[in-house]
Amino acid sequence: MPDVSLPIAEERKPRIIAFFCNWCTYTASDLAGTSRMSYAPNTRVIRVMCSGRIDPEFVLTALRKGADGVLIGGCHPGDCHYQEGNYKCLRRFRLLKRYLAQMGVEDERVRLEWIAASEADRVRRVTDEMSEAIARLGPCRLEAAPSPPDRGVESEQRLAGVAS
């Protein structure tokens, strides 16, 4: 996996990682682009096929690797291309938020929004709002912890002969 960690600078603009679902929110952000809307440039969009694909670990890893905020965009309830992926996203997101609160991460740093393919203006508004909110909060800075252990495939080969 390529290293996507962001270099740390003392003075820096907030960095937001956005996970957008392919069918609705990513299409809307594409529409915002082709419509030549301008919005906060500090959001880096990662396209996923469905908001139901967004594992809580993606959000945690983004924060750990230098993101100051994480935005998740999916289809409106009832509109999921895969029927119920966005509901799974909602359930995981609500649980993850409880954990993040315990870990001292402010509520505004991680946000879930339902944005349909036609709602380009909503992408612009949400991205701008989030950028302002994160700028007010300042850097997240989780980078001080020791590096997560290397979990290479080889490192997890199991001992032959140990029965379960």
Binding site: R91, Y99, M103, P149, Q157, R158, L159, V162, A163
Partner: protein
């Protein structure tokens, strides 16, 4: 020819890992026949100086249990690393931080303040706090430094193998000792346990839910638990879907849900995140309000999903807690 030397040391530990050695039962005789224990503070009277007198790498295999929180833990880990050919992180705490690593949810100052001043059971009229140096009538006394954070063994020294569990099943210890003695070792860094989720091979797997059906999370004491039905299907928070098996399903067979002591399977990087993902997707609700009502049944997500693995988790510690040297 002299027998291979072995060591067994504890850092921030409860002694349960030592208990698992006793749980080898008669198999312990085979182990004692095969190796010479040169360091085993809980059972035998060897001192640090005895370890220092050994040559580098002279201990064939050393098992260290417990998380690392003090300068003493770090010094002993470094000493035993130097003296051992194979160093094994033994048990959940040494492997991933374990229960002591939940201390990473609080700053060092918060912990000291509560324990020495604010706790209802504290009686400390002089407001004493531990210090690394103390001048007593008998001479200067030294205490280890209490670190800012709790680490797993591999966050301090190089570790060859891991044996998970709280405490590890004796079968895994026995297999590991046999592997070291025979020289048939897996690649360095391996977790010496089967790489399968607990649900695989669970006697209750046939009733495991595939669809969201949890409308309420229940604590074990709140319900009459069915002995045969999947615990998740009964609303009990079982971490089986995200947790490594190899423990022999002892909790499940005791009619209690899995709390995750074996850590993640290799496919799951962050054990707690994998567990949160699996458990949340079973919540039977489609609106934020209803999801929240059901999730109110999990009052402590950090303590539930990261009970044994905070040091190895992506977050590592509550935001703002700095990491001590080592």
């Amino acid at each position: 020819m002299s027998k291979p030397k072995a060591g067994f040391y504890w850092c921030a530990s409860c002694g349960g890992c030592e208990e698992s050695v006793v749980d080898l039962a008669e198999d312990i005789l085979g182990v004692v026949d095969a190796v010479d224990f040169v360091f085993f503070p809980v059972a035998m009277d060897f001192k640090r100086a005895d370890v220092e007198a050994l040559g580098d790498g002279e201990i064939a295999v050393c098992f260290i249990n417990g998380a690392l929180r003090t300068s003493e833990h770090r010094e002993m880990a470094e000493l035993l690393r130097r003296k051992s050919t194979y160093l094994v992180a033994y048990g959940s705490c040494s492997y991933q931080g374990g229960i002591p690593a939940l201390g990473n949810l609080f700053t060092r100052d918060e912990i000291l303040r509560f324990v020495y001043h604010d706790s209802p059971s504290t009686d400390n009229p002089e407001d004493d706090e531990p210090t690394p140096h103390f001048e007593a009538h008998e001479g200067d006394l030294e205490l280890p430094q209490f670190d800012e954070d709790v680490k797993a063994l591999d966050q301090v020294v190089d570790v060859d193998y891991y044996i998970p569990g709280c405490a590890p099943p004796p079968s895994l210890l026995k297999a590991a000792v046999e592997a070291v003695l025979s020289g048939e070792l897996p690649p360095k860094g391996s977790v010496l346990a089967p790489d399968k989720a607990l649900c695989e091979g669970c006697p209750r797997i046939d009733t495991k839910p595939n669809e969201p059906l949890i409308t309420e999370f229940k604590r074990p004491w709140e319900v009459q638990i069915d002995h045969e039905k999947c615990l998740l299907a009964q609303g009990l928070l079982c971490l089986g879907p995200a947790t490594r098996g190899g423990c022999g399903h002892v909790c499940i067979n005791g009619n209690m849900p899995c709390t995750g002591c074996m850590g993640p399977v290799s496919r799951a990087g962050d054990h707690g995140a994998a567990a949160m993902s699996a458990i949340a997707s079973l919540v039977d609700a489609d609106t934020e309000e209803e999801v929240d009502r059901i999730l109110d049944g999990i009052p402590d997500p950090a303590g539930t999903f990261y009970r044994y693995g905070m040091s190895h988790s992506v977050m590592y510690a509550k935001r703002g807690i700095t990491c001590a040297g080592g």
